[in-house]
């Protein structure tokens, strides 16, 4: 029974001889995946650290205080918060219905061949750098508004106190409109995705009962995706609140309680950008950082809330499917 060569081994190789490449990639990728978390924590820490002197000095009174004075070293963000609120809310009021309409147009109403080109153009609107929008705003739109639109508004809407005032090249109105231009593409593309996700069965069921296409949209599609639309609105809100560059270019940077939509005002983000060149006192620097802290908190809240809402929606639709 001589054998010429040893029989080939059919035993399975021992487990667990990891290849270097596999381990290397795994750890490298893990390190990369951890990085966003690390960065977020660092951002929160660093910005708070910079703001600390101001937080210590003013505490929550910063939110209600009303001055911004480097000479007396007194800082309060109330008017800035109001300015942020007014510009963002007005922008949303115009942008959200418009964006949902555009989403419906792209998902339902438009002929198929139009969908890609129009969709692309809406995306391009989102791609315009904010500084370019701001340049256009301050040199083209602002003067146009001041010369042709604001006088008309004062004449016809001036009985409402907020819509009374004097035309101005820079002010709340151009800021609201610029923010609208920025928010529309964001909410429009989210809306479009939502509407495209409505099951065809549901739409056909409504049509088979004799609804017009609009009635089907209104009574079946919109309720079906309403939560997602809310989430999209919150994301748009976050964007509007955080925009510094374009706003600071057109809003006029005046610290005053917004009483007229035409008058210059300021927002939190805009003030930080406006003082980038440096501020005299340490406390003023810290107060700018305090504004950044507030912005960070607002963006975290709106973002996480939006994600929770869409997460809950996805689970609900899957659970009942």
């Amino acid at each position: 029974m001589a054998t010429d060569a040893p029989a080939p081994s059919i035993a399975l190789p021992k487990k667990g001889r990891p290849r270097f490449g596999d381990i290397g990639l795994r750890w490298l990728a893990l390190a990369a995946a951890v990085l966003p978390v690390v960065i977020m924590v660092l951002i929160a820490y660093e910005v708070t650290r910079q703001a600390w002197p101001s937080i210590q000095e003013f505490g929550l009174g910063f939110i209600t205080g009303n001055e911004w004075n480097a000479v007396t070293d007194k800082f309060g963000a109330r008017d800035l918060i109001l300015g942020t609120a007014v510009t963002s809310v007005v922008a949303l009021l115009i942008a959200v219905p418009m964006a949902i309409a555009i989403g419906l147009f792209l998902a339902e109403f438009s002929p198929r061949w139009l969908r890609t080109p129009v969709g692309l153009m809406v995306e391009l609107l989102a791609a315009i750098p904010s500084v370019v929008l701001g340049l256009w705003g301050i040199l083209v739109m602002g003067p146009f508004l001041a010369e042709h639109v604001e006088p008309w508004m004062i004449d016809h809407l001036g009985f409402i106190p907020f819509f009374d005032g004097f035309p101005s090249n820079q002010g709340l109105l151009p800021a609201c409109l610029i923010l609208t231009i920025m928010v529309v593409p964001i909410v429009a593309s989210i809306s479009r995705e939502l509407f495209l996700s409505v099951p065809g069965d549901l739409k056909q069921g409504a049509m088979a009962l004799g609804s017009t296409r609009w009635e089907m949209v209104r009574s079946v599609m919109v309720p079906q995706v309403s939560g997602g639309l809310v989430a999209g609105t919150m994301l748009g809100f976050g964007r509007a609140v955080g925009e510094a560059i374009a706003v600071t270019q057109v809003i006029g940077g005046a610290l005053r309680t917004p009483s007229s939509i035409y008058a210059p005002a300021d927002t939190m983000a805009s003030r930080i950008a406006a003082q980038y060149a440096g501020t005299p006192t340490a406390l003023s620097k810290a107060s700018l950082a305090y504004l950044a802290v507030l912005l960070l908190i607002i963006s975290l809240i709106t973002n996480i809330a939006a994600q929770l809402i869409s997460g809950r929606l996805q689970r609900r639709s899957r659970g009942l499917a």
Partner: protein, 300 residues
Amino acid sequence: MSAQAGRNPLAASTSRSRRRKLWGRLMEGLASFAALVAIAVLLIVIASVAKRGLPAINLDLFTQVTAAFSFGAGQEGGLKNAIIGTLIMTGLATLMAVPVGVLIAIFDTEFAPPKVSMAIRMTLNVLAGVPTIVIGVFVFGLLVVGRGQSAWAAAFALAIIILPVIARATEEVLLLVPSHLREGSMALGATRARTVMTVILPSAVGGLITATIVGIARAAGETAPILFTSSVFANAVVTDPSQPMASLPFAIFTNSESPSQHDQQVAWAAALVLMTVVLIGSIAARLLSVRTRRQIEQTR
């Protein structure tokens, strides 16, 4: 059987049904109008920038430099240092963000259990939502205080901003790669790493390029982070990244508030250059992504 003539009960006969029909048409018309307005705004902005920027484009613009303190001060000067600065900063930011973004996407699609995957995605979304001005303040405190401004700091800030964009775009493409490619490779005995490097990434290359283009377009246009990290620069072309540099967005920003005609012209010219880059990049990315999608679908 031929159709009867006479009053057709199937026509929209009652006033109610006529009203419903009309109302439906009205609402659809409004939606079309909204889309029209959006397109109009886009075209108006592009037209404005083109109209005012084109006349200002001349050779001087590309051969002359402008010092930081001269931007906005109405002095003569061009965009040479700004263009070079944007190229360098954007390039560095892309170099930093793309490998990390791709690795994150790989981890998320290949290695991460579902709950971790969700956490990663959530974090990326949160990071994407942080206002760019806050990121500017962050990097200012981290890298500029005590050290001085630098292009590295600006690039770092830009990298943070585009990281979620690149990670998400890459992830989308990786998810498109059909699982039979993965399984085939692993069945042949290749390790995970090998599979990723030699099978998955190559088939997703188009998507990676798209993601990179999108990242570049975004990074080129961001102003807020530059305000704090690279806003005081020399009156010359600077190529050393440890120094602050001029940049197109910054040039636009400071010149936009200047009353000087010359400054405004420079701003429009810079805006034209920037917008051309951004628009071409976005369109190219879109076309490329459609083509990549089709290619990957064919391998199914």
